[in-house]
Amino acid sequence: MRRDPQQCAHGDGSSAVRIVIADDLGSTRRYLRAVIEECPELEVAGEAADGAAAVALAEALQPDVVLLDISMPILDGADALAAVMRVAPGAQVVLLSGMEAEVVQPLLAAGASGFVPKGVPPTELIGRLGDILGRDLTKAPRPGRERRAGRRPIGAPSP
């Protein structure tokens, strides 16, 4: 699936989907926040840098979605998933990983709502989140984004 990276849907009047980002790498959290903030239908509720913090934040904020790295310090993988599901039963847990499907599959079977590979471009990240949430997040651009759509890649040769 390849969609325009600058496109996200406008809200339909309903409240934004509140997301907790849980990843131990600051660069990953920053990237995810930037992509999520491109979508009017999505909102970053908080960030956690380890599994225990993710559980605490999920319990305190009761977000709609926890974007959960499955390899984090203190608490990770199945243990982190189970703990988040216990303290925030209304949250959908979306796994974030650079690992193979066989690592992720048991966690999906254990109740995770979906899986987003690490390192995917913004378009694919939003598309996958939309698929998992059952929303089309790619319809309309955020105001001011259209002007940058269609730009040739930096470093690409001139036409």
């Binding site: 660069s27 920053r30 990237y31 930037a34 491109e38 690992m99 690490k118 040739r152 470093g155």
Partner: protein
Amino acid sequence: MTAARQLPVTPSAAGRPSPDDVLDHETLSVLHDLGREPGKLLQELIAHFLAEAPDLLTEVEVAVGAGQCDHAGRAAHRLKGAAAHVGAVRLTLVADEVERNARAARREDTARAATTARSELDLAVTALRGLVA
């Protein structure tokens, strides 16, 4: 540090990375355009990478030296993620190789891949510093 707007001028065809490219220019272009202030996010991500990546590779090397392949695999996994977020495509691939070898407990192969990763990290750091200098 200035905004990351002086982006690479070593084009590959259609913006796709070639095996010779240290950085993926298309990824950099997308990152450059994300956010309200073009270039700011990319600059922040590069700063994160420059702060995180050398320590992560050192962690890999120390763990391999101590025979702790599990630990090396986890650190390599994080290095792979850090590299991917700044379009350091070759380092991403080598870090993945380190991770796979480490998770399979192939210590010698892990050490060999980590040596390659050190060279690739140096190249990526130089290229990325050039973007924000």
